[in-house]
């Protein structure tokens, strides 16, 4: 934003010596290494699928040994996956795995836990309150904010539709 504002300020009398924002964007795009989309997608599919299959396995353990319905078992399953993810993050393994797996490691709930645990650990040196406490939701925060706002809007739409139908 700052660059755009600065180049905007030179309009009129001076010809800008540096590139305009638009030129810069085209220049940067031409020099950006192309992404191996096919390879990334395949990796995301396999790793993401494996994490979900692992979740399915844990869920069935809860169903078999704790007498839960599959629906009841999904909450403790999430907690176990989060625990595994936080332990692997603490050992420094998850972040290496994430570089390879891309969205396959980020989209499952384990990625959500990884973003919180790595921020919590990384900022520990700034103190438990100002470091860990303040930074834990640095990345996970936007997911929660937009999830809650979306849920509120959708809930209100349903409430209004109910009213409209005379429910």
């Amino acid at each position: 934003m700052a660059q755009i504002a600065a180049s905007g300020g030179t309009k009129g009398k001076f010809r800008p010596v540096s590139m305009s924002a638009k030129e810069y964007k085209a220049f940067a795009k031409a020099h950006e290494p192309s992404r191996p989309v096919g390879k990334n997608v395949l990796r995301a599919f396999v790793t993401g699928g494996m994490i979900c299959a692992l979740g399915q396995g844990i869920q069935q353990l809860f169903v078999t040994f704790a007498d839960m319905s599959p629906r009841q078992a999904s909450n403790p399953t999430t907690a176990v996956l989060i625990l595994i993810s936080v332990i692997l993050t603490g050992m420094g393994v998850y972040d290496k795995f994430a570089q390879w797996a891309g969205a396959g490691s980020a989209v499952p709930v384990t990625g959500f836990a990884n973003s919180m645990a790595s921020a919590a650990i990384e900022h520990r040196s700034e103190g438990l309150v100002l470091g860990t406490g303040v930074n834990m939701f640095k990345l996970a925060g936007s997911v929660i904010v937009f999830g809650v706002v979306a849920a509120f809007v959708i809930g209100m739409i349903h409430a209004i539709l109910d009213l409209w139908r005379g429910g």
Partner: protein, 124 residues
């Protein structure tokens, strides 16, 4: 034997559907060039909208953990809590119900992350 096949099919569908949602995330990153934060936020909103339309629950019935493990299920659970309380408690339920279902995931993530920060020294 039949139960075993059925069981294996559950794993297969969890793998395929869960992998498919991750592919969607990867395409948002690589093709749409969104940042990871934008991608995750968008997927949560997608899950919320799908539940608002009543389409996410059938997906969970069908794919099990393939639908409950990806972050889209977080949006689904937020909406689900809101709509359930809306039915029982009226309008205020939209606010009071939002975190009803998701509490396990968020609590676990906060507690385990905090404990990890106490125990682990950052590397690098």
């Amino acid at each position: 034997m039949r139960a075993v096949t059925q069981n294996l099919m559950q794993f297969l569908w969890a793998f395929l559907v869960g992998g498919g949602i991750c592919v969607l995330g990867q395409l948002l990153l690589d093709v749409a060039r969104l940042t990871p934060a934008h991608t995750m936020s968008l997927l949560v909103v997608v899950g919320a909208v799908l539940d608002g339309l009543g389409w996410y629950e059938p997906l969970i019935e069908f794919a099990g953990a393939g639908a409950t493990v990806p972050i889209t299920s977080f949006g689904n659970a937020l909406v689900h809590g809101a709509l359930t309380e809306l039915e029982t408690n009226g309008w205020i339920g939209v606010i009071t119900g939002i975190f009803e279902v998701t509490s396990a995931g968020i609590s676990a993530a906060i507690i385990f992350s905090f404990l990890a920060a106490l125990v682990v020294r950052p590397k690098g």
